[in-house]
Symmetry: C2
Subunit: 334 residues, 2 copies
């Protein structure tokens, strides 16, 4: 952590008010580091940025094919969605097709992050369901695999066949033994790796089309699904959705709690792992946008990019009082 | 900012997941530094941690006395309140006593942070008012002074007599020229100083009882008001309120946006200035509690202290998945 370096600044008037440190690694498909900030050997929990890895066993096991899981549901399995009506309906239908319901999810309840739905539920006296949890798509994927395997109901137990297969896949794509796990916001184990390990994993996904083994084929399907359904991976106003739509070449990206972000560049076989050391999402959004501008994948002049790269800080009265911006040089702009 | 040092850690399972850097200065009434972390010369915007300074002209001008502003309203003038019914009613009454109303506040609207009231307003189809803004007490103080001076309505303009007097007071207690200001969340100017300057200011408040000049008398009244009404300074569940109640000796503390916190120890004539470099409140709450434990003002074993010093990190299902904790040694515990 101590070797983290400054990546994002918060300005207010003429002053640098706050600053976010972090680590980032850009890696090619051979595992080589193309560029890095901070310490590539820092141990990290990639949180929801690991969801496409956690979805690998769903595809590799044959469960996705057996249950007719199309690319929309694969995108949801990789998603931290808004709990907007779009997402809630899709997950409910998926669960119903499995003969299951909200009570079978083990992700806990979370209020919808879609303001209109959240307010409507408050007005209607409804309390949030598990399906509204941003991880309910990932958990529907876990439930599909559980059913396919005929395994027990407690699919978040680290010794459950689903999580054992997730760990195996995680260690395969990170190309290292995981030093352990923490329990995630949705109660599933979240396996640890290094910044470099996570970048290698993303480069594995990015280069999947260059290979023809079962894991690469599964990875390729998941990347295609994320890119085909950016609105399912996160939702309106969210960085994942807007930046994937704004990309000038094929791009899959995924945020994670505590300042994580990853990117997959299939055309180049390149993966990116980013962690803001203090865990701030405002900074991980800005820094991933900056690095993608640096690589020429995003255009800094695109308004959809600017809203994450250089968002204004506004006050309660709507006045612009400051700006979030990447440190000088991070975008690579002159 | 670069000289900030690690103050607070976020642990998940066996892993250090995130880390907050910061600056802190403990200062005596002569302006001498007793102890410091990070860089005492860092320029900072103390945000709402400066509210008791911004209230000095209200008292020194005679406006508070002329308008019968008691210690409850002085506490509100120094507050970042919850917008709970308690606060909303008190501010509305204050405004009515001035012959003014919600529309005279220039702080912008903010949804109440009191969940029950916020949900009730959504159910009733009501939109947030300016009085619900956490700064509405400070602004009521500004309006009182404006009326007393017979000045213009735009009391947040940096050249308005109210803000000129705030700047004068700010430079007096920080004992340095302010390098400028940023516009705060509530549209008032927020004057910059150094970490050391802000600690000197807090030591001025802490030692006010040792002197008998007009500014010291005003400072003493404000500190007494904050300590007498901790529930008005913030509200239930907030660090300011709970830690002031838990203090083992007289103590006034005040949070500010972007990871600020200050403390005033009247018995010792000591002031504390704290800034988390990345702006995180979870870290400023923890670090100020830790430093106050270090000084023997708070008891680390007190549950009301532990909820900010060592709060568990819980997930959507209510499971404890980690812990926020100060870095080893910060509390001074063996």
């Amino acid at each position: 952590m101590c070797a983290a370096e400054a990546l994002v600044e918060i300005h207010r008037g003429p002053f640098l008010e706050s600053q976010h440190m972090g680590h980032a690694v850009i890696c090619d498909s051979t595992g080589g580091i193309i560029e890095a900030w901070g310490d590539p050997e820092t141990i990290v929990l990639p949180r929801s940025s690991a969801k496409m890895i956690q979805a690998l066993p769903l595809v590799m096991s044959g469960a996705a094919q057996a249950y007719g899981i199309g690319p929309d549901r694969l995108a949801l399995a990789c998603a931290s969605h808004q709990g907007a009506p779009l997402h809630v309906q899709a997950v409910n239908t998926w669960l119903a097709d499995l003969g299951l319901g909200d009570g079978d999810l083990i992700c806990g309840t979370e209020a919808s992050r879609d303001k209109e739905l959240r307010f409507q539920m408050i007005r209607d006296g409804e309390t949030p369901c598990r399906v509204h949890n941003n991880c309910s798509g990932k958990h529907s994927g876990f439930l599909t695999l559980t059913k396919h395997l005929g395994a027990g109901a407690n699919y978040v137990d680290p010794s459950h066949p689903v999580q054992v297969s997730v760990r195996d896949a995680f260690e395969d794509v990170t190309q290292m033994e995981s030093p352990g796990f923490g329990i995630d916001g949705c109660s599933a184990p979240n396996f640890a790796t290094t910044m470099h390990g996570m970048a290698r994993a993303m480069a594995f996904f990015a280069s999947a089309g260059q290979r023809n083994d079962a894991m690469s084929n599964a990875a390729g399907q998941l990347v295609e699904a994320m890119m085909a359904f950016p609105e399912l991976v996160a939702g309106e106003t969210r960085a994942c959705t807007h930046l994937m739509r704004a990309a000038q070449e094929p791009l899959a990206i995924k945020t994670g709690a505590e300042g994580y972000f990853v990117a997959i560049l299939p055309k180049r076989g390149i993966g990116i792992s980013l962690k803001i050391a203090d865990g701030a999402t405002r900074a991980s959004n800005c820094a991933i946008a900056a690095i993608l501008v640096r690589l020429g994948v995003l255009d800094a002049a695109n308004p959809e990019v600017k809203r994450f790269l250089n968002p204004p800080v506004k006050n309660w009265d709507g006045l612009v009082t400051g700006e979030i911006r990447p440190v000088a040089g991070l975008t690579g702009a002159a």
